[in-house]
């Protein structure tokens, strides 16, 4: 066998171009496989190091009418292991550009004794007590040169606090994505004045693991204990055990990341197989010769396998480190979405061995297929090479369908090796399909945002700490861009979703009957602003709670004041700018409010208008508790969705690129296979240009078919993505739109590049092969 191996290595060495291409394919394959496996392993490791070490609390509770000694009672409750007070207060902070930004401030009782939801302190001043630690990723929003920050808590006068350190809490959403500032403060006393009197927030640790149902029972028990002590648990938040708050997006990106690896490795393996074919083709007759002089099929096959193994190993030497780096980059995106800090430690050796094994096995088995086929060639077959004619039925059907002998020649040639044609079509179609999916997804998001921006009547919403009368802000009507001001009232309501065991506490936004909601924003049910006892869900975030509820069914809500009101479930509408208030009703008295919606002149950017309204209110002694404007909201949504479509488009482009490469390899293979045929064509009167145009047409046909297939694949894929990401991020399906103009342009560019590449390649190859005519033995 050694003799055969030596011969094959020499053959390969002589065909240097193919050797390089084979190595490229082996690298791609190793790159893809290692990207896929390393990404998975790194994500697991990073999750463990970043998230699990924060010791996430099992759930959090909000207690009203807190009575001293309640902690002891809770700690004595069944399954409760630990309890820690942690407070949150919302407000605003002046960012570097002078705009107000949303602020969420977390207060910890004892920074040196955090037992749950542990965050990292990256910079801490000597004076630990009362230190304000800014979340590392939010720090970019703030002016580096300033030591202190202007902060305003819900409706209060602003205060100046010293910015004293940096922290990092991986359980929080990434600040840059949310467009909000997060911070920790090491003293609850500092924020006590801004908290609701008698309210306490506790984190609870239990001995129940990974079971949301059991945790609900524990929380229910605590609710009873609180009630017996004269307090009330008004809010319970039980996160999915062991899951990050952005798990849905992360799962989506992880899926893309693993798909990328799969596609790259698939492409690499297909490429390797194709290149091996081009290498083997001229050797088929030599296989016959080797057999004729005594070599067995097994010996020849083993010989080829040794060479294949060497190629794969060489490919891995380059592809694996590349894959490791790619996985790191991918992981960086995931870490960004999860607000993780990437871990720099190298993966343990067994992990690398796993990657090597997977990287060896897959390409080896796929690459061995053409080698096995070639090795099995009989002496007779090898000496009498004939072209394969595919199944008669399909083949003949095409003869009658296609007019023009040149077109028939092109189509029929695609049948010469239908498996190879199918591979190329699949590869290109996947690339084009993915690219179009990403592009359509981006287009759908932007269309929906644009639609929302254009159609939404109220571009600015503002919250206030206290209830006011509309007369008190009459002066806002003097602002030139303000067209209408709609009073609203946000109230915290507790209700029990139909068929649910526990109550939920959420915000209900009470609107006046003259509040305008666009008809196109109604997703389900009918909008009737004159129905005072109808309630609507904004977005589909909590649709699940009402999935078995028919429209018209009554649900009782307990308002923060204790008043109980029954509303009828009337519909669902979308409002991308409504965050945190999932219920809407139309029973607000028209003259009082604790929130305002502003209809403004569309030519004025909403963030500018928002700042001016804010200033005007401040001038009149009214502090705004929170602001949301369409521009800010859309920027935040874009931040959430952008990584997804950028990744999909990049994978698509990369696949198209590999598709181009494969196409050229197949073209090379075709030219090689048909050298004599080209000779015949030339000898019966075909010029170089004509031969080139025949090949061009043949491959154009493949491209057009791939593009058509890609577009067809992209349509349902876009629709699924719009549904999944719409429901996860903006709480309603994003209508799937097809960017026909973009597709047309991209198709044109793809065809143009491919045509140029094929022409160039033909020019190189066919011109060289003009000499092939000389090989004819007259």
């Amino acid at each position: 066998m050694r003799v055969i191996v030596n011969k094959l290595i020499r053959d390969f060495w002589q065909a240097k171009g193919k050797l390089v291409l084979c190595l490229v394919a082996a690298c791609l394959s190793a790159w893809g496989i290692s990207t896929m496996v390393y990404s998975y392993l790194m994500a697991e490791r990073d999750f463990e190091i970043n998230f699990a070490t924060t010791l996430p609390a099992d759930f959090e509770i909000l207690v009203d009418d807190y009575k001293p000694g309640l902690e002891e009672l809770f700690l004595n409750a069944e399954h409760v292991v630990d309890l820690e007070r942690r407070e949150i207060v919302g407000g605003r902070v002046k960012a570097a550009e002078g705009h107000w930004m949303q602020l969420q401030l977390f207060a910890v009782e004892d920074i040196d004794n955090m037992r749950m939801d542990v965050f990292k302190v990256l910079e801490m001043p000597e004076q630990k007590e009362g230190a304000l630690l800014i979340e590392v990723n939010a720090n970019t929003f703030l002016d580096d040169n300033l030591d202190s920050l202007e902060i305003q808590f819900d409706g209060d006068k602003s205060v100046i606090w010293k910015k004293s350190g940096i922290s990092h809490d991986p359980r929080l959403a990434p600040a840059r994505m949310e467009r909000a500032v997060y911070a920790q403060i090491t003293s609850i006393k500092m924020i006590e004045p801004y908290l609701k009197p008698g309210r306490r927030r506790f984190l609870v640790d239990t001995d129940v693991s990974m079971d949301k149902g059991e945790l609900q029972k524990v929380s229910r028990n605590l609710a009873l204990i609180a009630e017996s002590a004269g307090s009330e648990i008004v809010y319970v938040n039980i996160p999915e055990p062991g899951k990050h708050m952005h798990q849905n997006i992360v799962d989506g990106i992880s899926f893309l990341q693993e798909s990328t690896g799969l596609i790259i490795s698939g492409m690499g393996v297909v490429l390797l197989s194709l290149i091996l074919l081009t290498w083997i083709l001229p050797q088929v007759s030599e296989v016959g010769v080797m057999k004729a002089i005594g070599a067995s099929t097994r010996k020849i096959f083993y010989g080829y396998c040794v060479v294949l193994l060497m190629i794969i190993l060489l490919g891995m030497a380059i592809g694996m480190p590349l894959g490791y780096q790619t996985a790191k980059q991918f992981n960086g995106i995931i870490a960004y979405v999860q607000n993780f800090q990437t871990v720099e430690t190298i993966l343990p050796v067994p992990y690398h061995i796993l990657v090597v094994l997977i990287g060896l096995i897959i390409p080896f088995f796929v690459g061995a297929i053409p080698l096995f086929k070639a090795s099995r060639t009989t002496v007779h077959e090898a000496m009498n090479k004939t072209f394969y004619i595919p199944g008669k039925a399909i083949f003949r059907a095409f003869q009658n369908l296609i007019s023009g002998v040149e077109k028939r020649y092109g189509v029929n040639n695609l049948f010469r090796n239908s498996a190879r044609t199918a591979l190329i079509v699949a590869l290109t179609a996947v690339g084009i399909g993915l690219y179009f999916t990403g592009a359509n997804f981006e287009y759908s998001i932007h269309s929906e945002m644009e639609r929302f921006g254009e159609e939404t009547k109220y571009a600015i919403r503002m919250r206030f700490a206290n209830e006011m009368k509309i007369k008190e802000v009459d002066y806002l009507n003097d602002l030139p861009f303000v067209e209408q001001i709609a009073p609203m009232k946000d109230v915290r309501v507790t209700y029990r979703p139909p068929n649910a065991a526990f109550t939920e506490t959420r915000v209900m936004r009470r609107l006046s009957p003259d509040h305008v909601i666009e008809e196109s924003f109604v997703l389900e049910g009918e909008l009737d602003a004159n129905c005072a006892d109808c309630f609507y869900i904004s977005g589909e975030g909590i649709k699940d709670e009402f999935r078995e509820t028919d429209f018209g069914m009554e649900v009782e809500f307990t308002l923060a004041s204790g008043e109980k009101k029954t509303y009828r479930y009337a519909g669902i509408f979308k409002d991308m700018a409504a965050i945190g208030s999932p219920f809407f009703v139309f029973d607000n008295e028209p003259d009082s409010f604790n929130a305002l919606a502003f209809m403004i002149d569309k030519t004025v950017p909403s963030y500018q208008a928002s700042d001016q309204i804010d200033d005007k209110l401040l001038d009149n002694g009214i502090d705004v508790a929170g602001t949301m404007n369409v521009d800010l909201r859309l920027a935040s949504l874009e931040g959430h969705l952008e990584p997804t479509y950028v990744i999909i488009k990049s994978i698509g482009l990369f696949t198209i690129l590999i598709g181009f490469l494969s196409l050229l390899i197949v073209l090379n293979l075709t030219i090689q296979e048909r050298t004599r045929e080209i000779g015949v064509l030339k000898s019966i009167g075909s010029s170089f240009r004509k031969v080139s145009s025949l090949f061009q047409k043949e491959f154009m046909l493949v491209n057009l078919f791939s593009i058509a297939l890609g577009v067809l694949v992209a349509i349902p894929l876009t629709s699924s993505l719009c549904r999944v990401f719409g429901q996860t991020v903006i709480y309603h399906d994003i209508p799937s739109s097809i960017d026909w103009m973009g597709i047309g342009l991209a198709t044109f560019i793809i065809l143009l590049i491919q045509t140029a590449l094929i022409t160039l390649f033909n020019r190189m190859k066919l011109r060289k092969n003009a000499r092939a005519l000389l090989d004819f033995n007259f």
Binding site: T386, F387, I389, Q399, G404, V405, E406, R408, Y409, N412, N413, F415, R416, R676, E677, G679, V680, L681, K682, S683, I684, G685, S686, S687, F688, R689, K690, A770, L773, L774, F776, N777, F778
Partner: protein, 231 residues
């Protein structure tokens, strides 16, 4: 008229230069049926390559029907060849993905000499002439060796060439099929087509206007010798 003047053809290889044709002179009149006989490696393929313009001589001139082939560029030469010369290869060299009829049509389509509207009719006519009217829709893989060769002849006739070059046209055929092909060529010759056949086989039972022998790149006219042997 085909005129070759002082044709030299030298191939360079690692083993050194190979002198394939050595000062070859040749004149063939319009309508002549000529055979070139020679052993393998004698230079007969090179000679055919030079006559058909597939290969250019190292030195010397080639005039075919008044056209100096040296003055034509590669693409012009291909088109000129398609319009004026029909080539019948030893191993048929049919396009395996096209039917017999399409093989003939394809040759017409490449050169654009025959008007589009007449092509199908003429292709069918040529195939009828070679006795393949019942097998026009068959693919090469579905035809016997003799049938393939006849398709190749029909293809060579496709553009109504003034010259047909046949490379061992009966070399791979049984004697019966070989005779059929010979008859076909004889008929073509009678119709005024110039025929150049290359063979290394025995030609004593066949009629040719002129017989050339090529040995080590040197061409000699052996018509008289052949005639004498025939007598």
């Amino acid at each position: 008229m085909i005129i070759l003047e002082q044709i030299e053809k030298v191939y360079s290889s690692l083993a050194g230069d190979v002198h394939a044709l050595k000062g070859t002179d040749l004149q063939i009149q319009q309508g002549e049926n000529v055979v070139i006989v020679g052993k393998s490696g004698s230079g007969k393929s090179t000679l055919l390559n030079v006559i058909s313009g597939i290969d250019r001589p190292t030195s010397g001139s080639v005039f075919v029907f008044g056209q100096d082939l040296n003055t034509l560029k590669e693409n012009e030469l291909a088109l000129w060849r398609g319009r004026n010369i029909g080539i019948v290869f030893q191993f048929y060299q049919l396009l395996s993905t096209l039917s017999a009829l399409d093989n003939v049509l394809f040759a017409m389509s490449l050169v654009n000499k025959v008007p589009k509207t007449e092509r199908k009719l003429r292709a069918e006519l040529y195939l009828e002439q070679v006795g393949l009217d019942a097998k026009m829709k068959k693919f090469p893989s579905e035809l016997s060796g003799g049938e393939r060769q006849r398709v190749a002849i029909a293809r060579a006739l496709a553009n109504d060439p003034k010259l047909i070059i046949a490379d061992e046209p009966t070399g791979n055929l049984d004697s019966k099929t070989g005779s059929q092909i010979d008859e076909l060529f004889a008929k073509l010759s009678e119709q005024g087509t110039t025929l150049i056949t290359v063979t290394h086989a025995n030609i004593k039972d066949k009629y040719f206007d002129r017989v050339f022998n090529i040995r080590d790149g040197v061409l000699s006219d052996e018509t008289e010798l052949q005639n004498a042997m025939a007598v």
